[in-house]
């Protein structure tokens, strides 16, 4: 009975069966590992596990740094996206390639590069450390720096695409009404790019939350200061499997809590 109804609905939508099949396989491919995880979960001990300081610290740190990194990425990335989308200057394609690089680079390599730049003996890190004693590695700010490095490209590319698709004539109209360039940017350009900014921020946040390689290489691993959820899971996996699963479940729950409420219409232009 159910199969017949399904078949009729499918043929009404006129989707070829093989497309539906492939799509179903895609969903299953992603769903099965989660189901396996849920099946292994130590449900009876969960409450106790989740109360442990290692879990609480890691969660707090992960969420804080993910939001901080997203905020920083928006502050720096939205103007950059605007420049890439709206201006022409020699070397623009080089700039765009550079900004995209962290997406392609293995995160550990990114972390190493950050060390070479901002570590105690790094290109910029050394003079700053010598004069002020400030050091990014081994601090929470190091985690934010690593997260921003790997996640910002997602925001920049998404917002740049949104700006390109937006109609520049509205900015002309605003100019004829006497709006200054910064007023145009604030009240016309950015709001019009709203959906792409939201989409970019979500991608950025999600990437920052899951970041591991660059964080552990650059910021190190210390509970409460630099041990984010992914790091905690990695180490727990070898010593305390149940804790690792509990941590993973929390990570999944937090991610879903942020991503699910975002409706399509906020993500499409």
């Amino acid at each position: 009975m159910a199969r017949r109804v399904g078949a009729r609905r499918a043929s009404q939508q006129r989707v070829p069966w093989w497309i539906l099949l492939l799509a179903a396989v895609a969903v299953a491919y992603v769903a099965v590992p989660f189901v396996a995880l849920l099946q292994r979960a130590p449900w009876s001990d969960l409450g106790d596990l989740l109360g442990r300081s290692i879990v609480v610290d890691a969660l707090r740190l992960s969420i804080t740094t993910a939001f901080a990194a997203t905020g920083l990425a928006m502050l720096l990335g939205i103007p950059l996206a605007w420049v890439l989308a709206r201006t022409r200057f020699p070397g623009r394609s080089v700039a765009r390639a550079l900004v995209t690089l962290p997406m392609v680079l293995p995160p550990v390599v990114g972390g190493a590069a950050l060390l070479f730049a901002f570590g105690r003996r790094g290109l910029l890190g050394a003079p700053v450390y010598d004069s002020t004693g400030f050091l990014l590695p081994f601090s929470m700010w190091g985690v934010v720096a690593a997260n921003t490095f790997v996640a910002m490209p997602f925001l920049v590319l998404t917002v740049e695409a949104g700006l390109r698709a937006a109609d520049p004539r509205y900015e002309d109209a605003a100019a004829t009404l006497g709006a200054s360039r910064s007023m145009i940017f604030r009240r016309i350009t950015v709001p019009h790019a709203g959906p792409s900014i939201i989409a970019g921020a979500v991608l950025c946040w999600a990437r920052a939350l899951g970041e591991f390689g660059a964080t552990v290489t650059f910021a190190g691993n210390l509970q409460g200061r630099t041990q984010t959820m992914p790091l905690a899971v990695f180490l727990a996996l070898e010593s305390d499997r149940d804790a690792a699963i509990a941590l993973s479940l929390v990570l999944i729950a937090v991610s879903l809590a942020v991503i699910l409420p975002l409706r399509d219409r906020w993500l499409t232009a």
Binding site: D167, R169, Y170, D172, A173, A174, A175, T176, L177, G178, A179, S180, R181, M183, R187, I188, P191, H192
Partner: protein
Amino acid sequence: MLHAAIGVQIGDFRLDIGLDVGDGEVVALLGPNGAGKTTALRAIAGLRPLDDGRIELDGAVLDDPAADVFVPTAERPIGVVFQDYLLFPRLSALDNIAFGLRARGQDKASARRHAHEWLERFALGEQAHAKPRTLSGGQAQRVALARALATDPRLLLLDEPLAALDAGTRVQVRAELRRHLATFHGARLLITHDPMDALVLADRLVIVEHGHVTQTGVPADVTARPASRYVAQLVGINLLHGIATGEHTVRLDSGAELTVADPLPGPEVALAIRPQAIALHGHRPDGSPRNTWTATITDVEADHDRVRVTLGGPVAATAEVTPASVAELGLVPGTSVWATVKAVDLTAYQR
């Protein structure tokens, strides 16, 4: 008062026009698509700097490349109504109108108060909080106009203000626009490709073709004496060029000769013939008309209760006849007919 000498080069296209608009005047810049009208508007608005020339408004120089003077768009005392209105989609009608006032430094409360006044003036009080996408074409146009006027500009620019409307609303909105434009006393420049817009709304016409001005004047003069084929076609008049071969005879480029009732004004003339004045016959007509020729029908097109018949041959022209004639004479493309026009129906003027 706007004095504009506009020189702009875009790739191979060169725009070179001179334009004056007095306070209290509505000037229409009329021309076919691609003539350069929108470029001219963008130059006056400051959205596209001049390559050479000079734009001056009420004595203040807005753009003078030779003197290295350029006033940015935001600082020009202008208001623009764009072709698609470009109302800010995320702002209500009220906030759209208030935008220009806020841009000029007014606080939100007083800007909104002023915007309300404008809404009332344009009978849009109920739409104050509506978003642009919920407004009808006519309402949107009024909001766009109010938005442009709210900042008290010295010059109002309108870019194809009725193009976004369907044929039915256009007639009514055109009449309304005429009334609203009359309430503004500064200089008004209107860009359009629709001759009806120009004829209804403008005090003076400037015809632009291929980047140059081909004719200026009040609507009545321009339609009576079209200086170019484009204008003639626009107003539905046949225009033929020829050389005077006598006081009353004109030899066309094709070699055919036509006789005109009034004395010719000069050696090179343009002959205007109303389509209705051309009569079609199945056989060579008897009687007086001096201007007789055979023509081949190239097109037959019904236009409400009249039929326009395009004629090829020594005298290329369009005749307008009744449907009955079409039936009676069997007028179909490819067939031949005899055409006549009375000398008194030919208007000649200097080219």
